[in-house]
Subunit: 391 residues, 2 copies
């Protein structure tokens, strides 16, 4: 069954990412859904959609739990099953996996899966606290550690062991801003320079302000169906041919080695094996650049280069548009934005655009195989999916 | 495929329910897991278990999100996929459904699914606020409505339309305390009288203190496998033969009729159809008695009696041990306790005990078919499962 389509993406939608004032999650989600429905005129939502899966990280931002039925309600899809998954910043990556498995079970033919987060109405200190809940409480949160400091530790270890430089980290930000400049839905559409990154305010050394992803509002979604039904809905389905999920320690302090992520490596191994593909077969990828160091670690965990060589990979331009393996053509979490619950399916949405020739100015020519890499916490959850366009 | 086993339960565990001071969720979960492993000596956890599914309602109680990998970590099961589902008080009911679908997909052969919540270290007002997050924020929470008041409204409407009485509500509490008295793991093991319920302090009229379920700490889990593999692990597997999930409006104010729950009726219909069974075939059931009125509404939504006749059903004793269809032999949320995330799989655990003859003093003799009914919020999520013992 290697390389066989598990499910097919027949449509997708993405809200504008940024500061979306005066809207609740359920309303932002509808913005993504509207695009997905508009792109798929053969879909009759009330009749066809059998289940909804939603990734969201935190009830705290909006003082609202139980988000999945609040969305199925607002979509007019009651009483279909509406299921919420939480895996910190990998929430909708995990939702995507559960949506795939649910279709594979034979229970559903067609489902909608997405993610959403509304964050910008909160102060930075509130947002930092809510996000920190995804790290270990007794050892990490309690001692005042936040995600920038956890990833600062990872960066320090990577620099110490492999000679990775602050400039190489900065190059990740520069590349992703260059890509985001081409994405009309990106939160930040402006180019930056290595010098600007290097001179930006330190957040948690060696990470500076421009090494960090954004606090954002936004939503993303996909319409999935069984491969055999996909042509009813579109002439250009994208098949998902590999899925993998892994977990790692909740605390960074528990790891012998913090320069890689066990959860991501395990997820990647499963996904590649299921897809019958190797890292060198990947034409375009979206990876979890919550901080610049995370993208470098992702290159290595995904096998785009050997461990320790991620810094060199960005330096030689291999991962920029036009390079050997363009990464984060959407602008990534760094420039497109990072509404945490929406990120996993937003990555999948970009790959869907790339493999159907809809990526406009940032199109990777001839892209056939895509990959997404979504991380929760400091790597306690990792989810990898592999996609194949149909020609 | 009607009535065909979807998956099999080969073991299960339940922590003591009550006030478990000085323990984190991840530690309480291990108490349930230990029982499940002890009961299943043929299981080699590190080798056999391929995934973990966890229901938990709220990150707020412990200031800890990302609970699933924190548990797979503590269980020593890294890097298996660890997936957290949230559906308010139906979190582990929904986790159970996703675990079933995941096995049916062919991806996993054997998984562990459970739920946990640690609540009692918080003040009653904090707990009430965190729980209220599962209701609609803009219309309900914002106006000060909490779950006792939402269910008070449901009770009032039911009394007005059907003539249900406060005494009938009280009888639900009396029955469940009588059952809980027989369950050594129940939080409250004492019998009460209708008079005591009627004279207890009003919380949200017509609901009084003894009409309300408990604030609890606790965990529950099940080991699930493909039906064809079940005999490797136990001589007495319990097959799950029906699963259903539905959603209803997030706000009570959106409903034309608040005397029933659309989500639960939809879930029940799906589960009965899949199981090829009728309500009259059910020998024992665990239903979601978060408040006494909720059990009466559940009788009706599940078809144990006609709409409006739930009050009479409890009055004539049909749902007590020895009656036609014993309900909540565990003591229910009312007496066993209601650690919200743990409740769905705790209900399934009780049915597993009943269908394998392990329910001791509360055993329903000759029980062959069991049912669980798990509700989230004021009925925005409903999950129903149907179980069959193998003789």
């Amino acid at each position: 069954m290697k390389g066989r389509p598990l499910v097919s993406i027949v449509s997708g939608g993405l809200s504008k990412f940024g500061k979306l004032d005066g809207k609740y999650s359920r309303e932002i989600f509808l913005e993504a859904v509207r695009e997905a429905f508009d792109k798929c005129p053969n879909l009759n939502p009330r009749k066809d959609i059998e289940a909804l899966f939603v990734g969201q990280m935190s009830e705290s931002f909006e003082h609202q739990g139980h988000v999945a039925p609040s969305i199925s309600d607002w979509m007019g899809l009651l009483p279909i099953p509406a299921t919420h998954l939480e895996a910190a910043c990998a929430s909708s990556g995990v939702a995507l996996r559960q949506a795939i498995l649910s279709i594979m079970s034979g229970i559903y033919d067609i489902v909608i899966v997405g993610g959403v987060e509304k964050m910008t109405h909160r102060s930075t200190s509130d947002a930092t606290e809510y996000l920190a809940m995804a790290s270990d409480f007794p050892m990490e949160q309690w001692n005042g550690i936040t995600f920038p400091s956890l990833f600062g530790l990872i960066a320090t270890a990577h620099m110490e062991r492999y000679g990775t430089t602050e400039e190489q980290l900065a190059m990740v930000a520069v590349k992703n801003h260059r890509h985001g400049f081409l994405n009309p839905k990106a939160q930040l559409q402006r180019e930056i320079t290595v010098k600007q990154v290097m001179e930006s305010r330190p957040v948690a050394w060696p990470l500076k302000l421009f090494d960090c992803s954004l606090i954002s509002d936004g939503a993303s979604c996909l319409v999935l169906t069984k491969p055999s039904l996909a042509r009813r809905y579109t002439d250009t389905p994208v098949d998902i041919i590999g899925t993998g999920q892994g977990s790692g320690t909740i605390g960074l302090f528990e790891r012998d080695d913090i320069t890689y992520m066990q959860a991501a490596r395990s997820a990647a191994k499963q996904a590649y094996e299921m897809a019958g593909r190797k890292p060198r077969n990947v034409d375009v990828a979206e990876v979890h650049d919550c901080f610049t160091i995370a993208e470098i670690v992702a290159y290595e965990d995904l096998g785009f280069c050997r461990p320790g060589e991620g810094g060199k990979l960005i330096e030689k331009g291999a991962t920029q548009l036009g390079g050997r393996i363009p990464v984060n053509t959407s602008g990534g979490l760094k420039a497109k934005g990072h509404p945490v619950g929406a990120t996993g399916t937003a990555q999948a949405y970009e790959i869907y655009l790339q493999l159907t020739g809809q990526a406009e100015q940032r199109q990777v020519k001839g892209a056939k195989i895509g990959l997404t890499h979504n991380i929760g916490g400091s790597g306690s959850t990792g989810v990898v999916h592999i996609y194949k366009g149909r020609s």
